[in-house]
């Protein structure tokens, strides 16, 4: 079906006065004028569609770009980095000829509108990023944040999101090995659904998104293009929800994991036969993004015939085809003599594949429809030369009052009985309770390489069956800390993920992040963002772990109320032999429990202050990244040399939370003694960073404490693995049965 007259380039040049709906497509007036200036004429409808979607906040990072540059400028020297920021995902060398690619992305807004499909397609999108680098996906992780656990809407959003992640990931055959689930009223109406994935390949298999070699064919393969998600990138991801506007439900895409599974197998088979010159997945902004990015990263131009795109809905206009975000599609650049073989492989997997264009020796991206040229642009202006905003930012005037509201002044438990009650209240609170009801809806076992999965400190996957080489990943973020101090909060997220990787025995190598914030048009939010990025970039430089890529999600707010600033940090680590991994569970009675690191009176933003006093104020725990590095080295050495049998990082909930988890997972109790210089309350609930608890076999005690002593890490013996209670001498004893009931009943009671 065609419309008359077709808005071709020629037609646009002849009709300069035609008004186009640039505002409805999300462009600002000055942005539209810039498009006209670049083209030297008004854009065609198709060109406007491309610019509007590619210059949206979601695709162009126009508000965040000036800050994100620090990740490059402050990047530490690292031999491990093979591909850095800017590609579909970063790639890291993990040794023995293997490379690992990993990334975390957000799918927040769609998941609020339509929880199941929003979350499912979030998994699909991140997995295609991993395939596009040439890697076989080997695991996914899902850091999630929801409104208050007892809010009625959480019962709508959370089960849908969890079922969507499971429904998609389980059907793809990817083990889900980690992530987080956090509840806080600040995420009401703005849940954070972040999705991470890891892929493994040999060094020589790394692929990049570029179209080079004039004459090479551009092949679109995977699902047919339909009307789903049209304008999703520019509308859904870049505006806040507002009751006055019409429903945006149709803008959320619908996923088909079976199609994606075929896409994985078929793409990997094409890689194996070296048939692919360049590759790009179709995610946000669909064909607009894939064609302009492939062309602008290559050496030449590109010519595309849009009529050749297989459609699910034959009434789609060319603008809609360019903007469609139909899932499970990819675009490959293939040499002409290899096209037949590529199409054969697609046919083997029942995947539709169509040559839709070719690489040209010019420098223009030209797109044709019904014989008319409807796009003629320099692809760089679409993909890379979007607007860049220096948004004003200012420390909010309420920040001082918030920090002055010291959590250390909150009433503390006065009796042993109160102390015990607060321990139970903590381990049974929604944030600290067992998330088993959620994680058991995810397949952890598929692929047969899962060494550790949640609730372990990091997920761990075996990469090589012969040598035992493995990789570990942990994701962490604490919006409460970041609200109190975004710079420190971002570093605490980094420190915790780093520590979680080291706790399992793996050496941290690299970082990916997902930065979830409110509206960049609010100077206070922009300040939080700027501070968090500065903190993370400084922290990564100090720890020697470069940021390999990531994602920014802005406009997570309803009306004036923004979410807590929530930088989520993923740290990837490597372990030479997964047989040496350290799990969380206590394994043997009689082993000695040591607390590593310094414990101070730090309660700002703590789980205790939230659960017992519903309080958020003061300063977050202090960060000492040199200490984190030392603690990491000790944990890794102790794991390698068999000096510890279990280890657990200390973070939200403090020591008591960690010990209860180790005890419940191992089915073995603990007898604890408050060490000299600490009171029972601080010992149990402080959230000082840079700490871990470890269980040391008696035969290794001397060797272990010597190592800590020589290297200057405080190691305090605080008890012994024993019996079927968690007991604090002179204060209280709680049976494992009572703890288990409290810890495991909360989430099913709220959500099942």
């Amino acid at each position: 079906m065609s419309r008359t007259p077709l808005d071709t380039v020629e037609h646009a040049a002849e009709t300069p006065d035609v008004e186009l709906p640039w505002a409805e497509l999300g462009l600002k007036k000055d942005e539209y004028e810039r498009v006209v200036e670049i083209l030297g004429r008004r854009p065609t409808g198709a060109e406007l569609a491309m610019y509007s979607v590619m210059w949206s906040e979601h695709c162009s990072y126009k508000s965040s770009k000036v800050h994100l540059r620090q990740f490059g400028e402050k990047a530490p020297e690292s031999d491990a980095m093979l591909v850095g920021i800017g590609e579909n995902a970063g790639v890291v060398d993990v040794g023995q000829g293997y490379a690992v690619t990993f990334k975390v992305e957000s799918h927040n807004h769609p998941s609020y509108v339509e929880p199941y499909q929003g979350a499912a397609t979030g998994v699909g999108g991140i997995v295609r990023d991993i395939i596009a680098m040439g890697a076989r996906p080997v695991a996914v992780v899902d850091p999630l944040r929801f409104g208050a656990a007892d809010h009625p809407d959480t019962k709508r959003v959370l089960p849908g999101v969890v079922a969507g992640i499971g429904g998609y990931g389980n059907c793809l055959g990817l083990p889900n090995i980690g992530g987080e689930v956090v509840f806080d009223a600040c995420y009401q109406g703005n849940p954070l659904v972040n999705a991470g994935a890891i892929g493994v390949m040999r060094h020589e298999d790394i692929h990049l998104a570029k179209a080079s070699g004039p004459g090479n064919k551009v092949i679109l393969y995977g699902a047919r293009t339909g009307g789903d998600g049209i304008g999703g990138a520019s509308i859904l991801a870049s505006e806040t929800f507002d009751d006055a506007k019409p429903s945006k439900r149709p803008a959320v895409q619908v996923g088909d994991p079976f199609q994606e599974k075929l896409l994985i197998e078929c793409t990997l088979e094409a890689f194996r036969e070296k048939l692919v010159v360049g590759i790009q997945d179709l995610g946000a902004a669909g064909l607009s993004c894939a064609t302009s990015e492939l062309a602008s990263n290559g050496s030449g131009g590109m010519r595309v015939t849009l009529d050749d795109v297989p459609l699910r809905d034959s009434t789609l206009s060319p603008e809609e085809i360019l903007m469609s975000e139909s899932q499970e599609r990819m675009c490959a650049v293939v040499e002409p003599e290899k096209v037949d073989r590529f199409l054969e492989i697609c046919e083997k997997w029942d995947v539709i594949a169509t040559v839709i264009g070719e690489v040209t020796d010019g420098d223009r991206l030209e797109i044709y429809w019904h014989g008319g040229k409807i796009v003629d642009v320099d692809p760089r202006t679409v993909a890379h030369d979007g607007p860049v905003y220096e948004r004003p930012y200012a420390r909010p005037d309420w920040q001082d009052a918030l920090q002055a509201d010291d959590a250390g002044k909150l009433p503390r438990p006065a009796t042993s009985e109160e102390l015990k009650d607060q321990v139970l209240k903590l381990v049974g609170s929604p944030n600290q309770a067992s998330k088993q009801w959620i994680t058991q809806q995810y397949d952890h076992f598929v692929q047969g390489n899962t060494v550790l999965a949640q609730p372990e400190d990091s997920g761990m996957i075996r990469v090589d069956e012969e040598t035992g080489l493995g990789v570990a990943i942990a994701t962490d973020g604490n919006g409460r800390y970041a609200k109190l101090d975004p710079y420190t909060g971002a570093q605490l997220a980094l420190a915790e993920a780093y520590r979680n990787v080291a706790t399992t025995g793996a050496t941290p190598l690299a970082v990916s992040d997902c930065l979830n914030f409110g509206s960049p048009e609010d100077p206070a939010v922009m300040w939080q963002f700027a501070e968090a990025v500065r903190g993370l970039a400084d922290g990564c430089l100090q720890l020697g772990t470069p940021v390999t890529g990531g994602n920014v999600s802005l406009y997570n707010q309803t009306g004036e109320a923004a979410i807590h600033p929530t930088p989520v940090v993923a740290v990837l680590g490597v372990i030479d032999d997964v047989a040496r991994r350290t799990p969380v569970a206590f394994r043997e009675e009689g082993q000695l429990i040591y607390l590593l690191g310094d414990t101070r009176e730090e309660f700002g933003g703590s789980a205790w202050s939230q659960v017992v006093h519903d309080h958020l104020g003061g300063l977050p725990p202090a960060v000492d990244l040199e200490r984190e590095r030392l603690l990491g080295e000790i944990l890794i050495s102790a794991s390698r040399d068999g000096m510890i049998d279990s280890a657990h990082d200390l973070s939200d909930g403090g020591l008591v939370q960690a010990v209860v988890e180790s005890a419940l997972l191992g089915g073995k109790g603990a007898r604890l003694v408050v060490p000299d210089g600490l009171d029972a309350f601080t010992f149990l609930f402080s959230e000082s960073a840079g700490r871990a608890v470890v269980a040391v076999p008696r035969s290794e005690e001397l060797r272990f404490t010597d190592m800590c002593g020589v290297r200057g890490l405080p190691a305090t013996r605080i008890g012994v693995v024993d019996g079927d209670t968690v007991e604090l001498q002179g204060e209280f004893a709680l049976t494992l049965e009572e703890l288990r009931e409290t810890h495991e009943a909360t989430i099913p009671a709220l959500l099942a």
Binding site: A163, L172, G173, P257, K261
Partner: protein, 234 residues
Amino acid sequence: MTARIGVVTFPGSLDDRDSRRAIRLAGAEPVALWHKDKDLQQVDAVVLCGGFSYGDYLRAGAIARFSPVMDTVIEQAKAGLPVLGICNGFQILTEAHLLPGGMLGNDHLHFICRDQKLRVENADTAWTGDYTAGQEISIPLKNMDGRYVADRRTLDELEAEGRVAFRYVTDGEAADGYGNPNGSLNDIAGITNAAGNVVGLMPHPEHAVEPLIGTGRTDGLPFFTSILKKLVSA
């Protein structure tokens, strides 16, 4: 000499590589079979593995049952070829009428993934010789449609003929993997045909073959050593 055991890959199969690994670890030779290919390459036994064949958008296993490879599997299974169906493979075997009954959605309506306690009820099939009857084992379970159902007469027949091969063990703590995880009738986790060559079960023995991986148990390995012994001694 060793045995050659085929593993069929349908579009949407997920545990094909895992099943081949388990066969290799047991000492047999794994052979990859393709759904469009009627030729079983003269394998001595076949594993139909877990996954979502053809997306399972219709009814789990309903389309896979009509694939070219299944024509040969059905024909040869009836002639005595040992066939093991795991999860989706079990669903395919019921759709193909090589085993009676069928699978419905879990009674709690959620996907469930956990370490599951089973009791071996029949240690005389081609795939269970290395277990002893009454033995309790723990292997991973992971499915959406795992609720075994059959009409009363079929259930009575299965029970009377000792064809319930595996049962969920219910007398213990859920935290330790006990309990009926999906509402299966008679707590049935797996069954065998009358000849004992065709066995299907919902839990995944191929995910419990290495001490380091998954749950850290190797309770699933005897499936693969059982068939190897049977084939080599035959």
